[in-house]
Subunit: 181 residues, 2 copies
């Protein structure tokens, strides 16, 4: 289960709470290829502790709720290292929008075009957002020698290419529909 390994990966870099995992990591650095809600994260943290891949210490706080700080165990480090070299199967893309398109033969052409235009806009917004992150954090990546930073850039770049490709698919699809009907 990949969420577990993403959590192990982050906690391997520094010990942290479930809250920080969500708000400082999942919602920021891997948001373009992985999303997880707080509930899933807490559930997975519990499982990782059960399996002895993580442990935690409780930090008592006077005026605020206590915090559970998770750290990776030796077993967790080994497990993560092994998974990182695994030859994983392809993920299925699972895009509900394509289900809409696939079955929309009874919609009139303008409505289908509207669906495509709206979808294109959403992907354009993501695309712009990713370009801004690229400009802010990955300027001059070719002169960078920090492997971790470069690998993070690669995952962002995959998001940029994905959005580009989806945008051009929307455009081509609209043109094709217009040329036929």
């Amino acid at each position: 289960m990949s969420l577990a390994y993403a959590i192990l990966g982050f906690v391997n870099e520094e010990s942290m709470t479930g809250y920080d995992l969500k708000n400082k990591h999942f919602d920021v650095s891997v948001a373009n290829f992985w999303s997880a809600d707080q509930g899933q994260i807490y559930k997975t943290l519990d499982k990782l502790v059960e399996k002895d891949l993580l442990n935690f210490e409780i930090k008592y706080q006077d005026d605020k709720p206590n915090r559970k700080i998770y750290s990776i165990t030796e077993k967790g480090k080994k497990d993560l290292a092994k998974w990182l070299e695994e030859d994983l199967d392809l993920n299925c893309v699972r895009d509900s929008f394509l289900i809409q398109i696939f079955f929309s033969k009874d919609l009139d052409l303008n409505k289908i075009k509207k669906l495509l235009v709206n979808r294109k806009e959403k992907h354009e917004n993501n695309y712009k957002k990713y370009l801004e992150i690229k400009d802010e954090y990955f300027n001059n990546i070719k002169d960078c020698k920090d492997k971790s930073h470069i690998l993070q850039y690669l995952t962002l770049d995959s998001g940029i290419k994905y959005e580009q490709s989806f945008i051009s698919w929307c455009e081509d699809s609209i043109l094709l529909l217009e040329s036929i009907f």
Copy 2:
């Protein structure tokens, strides 16, 4: 839940069993953007019957197990038609491979390159498979007037563009790593 709508979409075209849904539809025409296992399909069929969006009749067979043939109800047709025009949120891509890349700073460069090369091969296989389907079923799409067929082509084309973009990302990533280290 999009699986439910994909099922409604197929059953709307013709009444069928859960087995046929999986083997003649999910595994064939939408495989490039949606996968579902037989268990999920049966569970969702039950829910759709409960909600009065589908009904079924049992076909008794002498030597073989009886078959449940599902049909769409009027309520199901309305629900599907409404969903097909909905402005859906973007799906998160959720690619475990990108989690591997994101956290693989402790792997040596050759191992990272090997991960990328293997991944590229898998996407190339998909790409070739989709091109074959395109050649076989969507030859001369520009002269086609069958809306349903054209919409099916569009969803296949999105898969083709996705694979192309992922392949070029793998290639660029390998080149970037080689140029830096």
